[in-house]
Each structure stands twice: as C-alpha cells, then as structure tokens.
Amino acid sequence: MPMKFPGTCIICSQKVEVNEIGFWAKGLGVKHEKCASQEVKELKCIICGGPAGCSKCEFTDDCDREKVSEFCVCKKCEGLADSFAQYQKAVQKNFSLLNLKQ
C-alpha cells in the first residue's frame, strides 16, 4: 500500500518515503515492497529460542519454510549430546498445556 507517513524499513534500514509502496503492520513497522519479496522466512529453534539458521541449513533447498511446521532446531542444538531429550524438554516448557497428567 502507498505509505501515508515516512518510516524506516525493518529489513534494509533505509527510508520508506511517503506514497512509496510498502508493507506496514501494527507493532512491527514498515518494509519496502522489494525487501518484503526478498525476505526469507526463518524458522525458530525450539530449544534455544533463536533463529534456526535456515539460510545455512543443509536442507535449505528441500525445506519449504512456508509450508512446514513452525519450529525446528538450529545446528548448534542439533549437535548436543542429548538433542532429542532437549527438544522434548523445550516442548514441555513452551507448551505447558501438553504436559497432561494421566
């Protein structure tokens, strides 16, 4: 949409001028139309909470990040000795509703 007010693009940190076409979302900010199209969706590592490092992932070409389940694991957390146990712990911590007592 054409911008009503000037702002700074949250991706390239360059100015977005008035009437320039871009995207705006409440609480997030603005971004250029061009920047938004180049933006690569980054999955979140459920263990450490940081970005999963999708651009450097060995499966980057085979992972459709728009279509897969939201959480992944980063390379560092995958390398932990008990990585799967850590994953399960993180799920229990972040989604406490799933800790059902039988």
Partner: protein, 386 residues
Amino acid sequence: MMWSEKHRPKKIVDMVGNEEARNSFVDWLVKWKKGAKPVLLIGPPGIGKTTLAQLAAREFGYDMIGLNASDVRNKANIEELLSPLLGNTSLLGRPMIFVDEVDGIHGRADFGGTEALLKVLKEPTIPMILAANSDQSDKMKSIKKTTKPIYLKPLPPRLLSLYLSKVLKEEGAKLSPGTTIKIIVESRGDIRSLLNMAQAQIGGFDPPTEKSFERLDVEAAINAFFKAKSKEEAQVVLYSLRIDPREKINAFYSSIVTSNLPGGTLAKMLDVISEADVLYGKIMRTQEWRLLRYLDNILLKLYGENAQVQFSQYNLPWPLLNRLRWDGRTIKALSSVLAKRFHVSQSTIATFYLPYILFCIKNKKLDIEISSEYSEIIQKEIDLLK
C-alpha cells in the same frame, strides 16, 4: 515389527513437530463442553493426525470410536452408527468419535453422507474429531464451516533428522550420511514414510542407483522384484512402486502369464493375483481405502527365489496378440461383408455363423464369391479348425 508402530509416541507431548497445532488441539479438548464445535485435523498423510486423536482419547480417558469415510458416506449409516452414540452418552462410558479421511466422501461415493454428517456436526453431544488430508473440495468447505480447523504441517527436514537419529540410536543401527539425507529429503516431512524407508535401508537393501527408489518405473520394479535376493529386498521394491493399484496388479498379472513358468508355480501365482484382485474389488466397492495397505503384503507372496518372470506389458503372448490385432481387423471386415450376404448382423456372423461357413468352404459345400483380399485369412482360419 514396523518401526512406525514400534516408535509410535505414548503421549501427545512425545510427538514430534506441529507443537502449536497440538497445543490448540489439547486446548480445544480441555475446554470442550456439549455443543462445542468438533475439531477438524487437516494435513498430509503420515504426520500424526490419527496418532493425535488416539493419544488424546487415552490421555483424557475417552473411549474412541473410529470411523472412516466408507462408514459415513450414506445417511442411513450415519444415523445407525452415530445416533445411538449421540443420544445415550451416559450408557456408553465416555465416547469420543474420530472420523478419519472425511475428504474421502465425494462424488458418487457420497449417498447423502456429507449432508447427514453436517447435521450431526452442528449439535455434538460428545467430542468429535475429524481428519482430512486436504480441505480444498466444496464439501470440505462446508464441513470446515461447522468445525474448528487445525492444520498439521509436514516436519522441517532438520527436525526429521533429529528424530531419525534418536530412532537409529534406539535401534542400534547406523546409516551413511548420504543415505540419511536422501531418506529425509524423500520423506517430505512424513514421519511414517521416513521410518519405513529407514527400516528398509537397515534391512539390507541398497537401491540399485542413486535415483529415487520411490520412483522406479513399472518395468524396472517388476524385474527387480523377481530378481531380488531376499524377501526384504523384494518388499522394498514393491513399496517403491507407487502407481495406481489396478495398474500394479495388472503389471504383475501380464508379466506372470507371459512368462514360461511351471504349471504349479503359475497356478500359485495366479491365486495370489486373484487374492489381490479381490481385495482391490472390495476397496472399490466399499471405498475403504485403508485396506490398500494390505495389497503389497499380498503381492509379496509372488516372490520366490529364482522365479523366471520378466516384465511384460501385454497379458497375452506376442504372436497371439499380434494375430488378434491384425487378423482380428480382417475378420471384422470379412464378417461385415458376410453379414450383408446372409442378412444377419455382423456379430451374429462372427459369433455363430463363421465357424460353419469355414467348415462348408473347407468341405467344398459352399462357394462364396468374395474378394481375394480375404482368401488369406479364410485359409488361415480353416487351418486352425480341428
């Protein structure tokens, strides 16, 4: 035992991936009260829709009643199956209904099922869970309106890798890095497929080429099946042949009947084909597509070491097929000429008259003036008369 069964999670929290979807589902079930919208789990096969419903029933103390598309495709069935459950809940403990593959009710297979199901979905007295692979059809759109849709997505490859490492560790098995990556990529986020492929690899079968063994063509697959060194290898080849089940049965049938097999072996193999055909017929008649999983197990009985079977597309020997094709055409034209002469239909000539006419010509009792182009076929047919 299949790894996909052995490693099936025991609790919802033990599942892998789709954390937010699982959370929404549990939230729905925790807050469930009479009249609440049923939940619709939407997602591709092998990512845990059925497992989620089964574990929820176990963890929340419900008695799950599982139905599938074939049970709910007609109105009478729905009334017969669901009405007692919805009307007498106190007598039946704590029932919960799970309808799998609701997107399977479509086209001619729907005898008022969707409409009746929609009516039930509007006022549920017990928790109802529906599962579908896709929500794109018009019927699914109307089902979606009366339910709370929850989308389950394929798993990211790296998460699959994490899970596969855990399973391999528990099994005390190892895979080369190349094979691991190949399996993860080819499973496309489907956990069941991932475990099946990994188990097949550990079983000792190394695919002949680097190309995806999921996409072996029919000829290569049939030949590889009969040349397999073990039953496990044959099983993998069979699973890799992802074509229409009818075509699969036909490919085996045509290859077997055209191969030079001893009578006993041929009879046994034809029995197996017949068994597979009966199963497929049942699937088509009842639309119970879940039975399809047993097809490969039936066809596996065809495997026998040193069975001299080669793929053939045609279910008749080539000379006979050739004769049918070319001579059949000439006989048809001849029948047309004779039909006019005898004032009967072409099919009557071909079915009833022709053998007698040929006998008469052979015994020189009948002289039909006919174009010379048919003399060759007449002579050929006379030679075949006993």
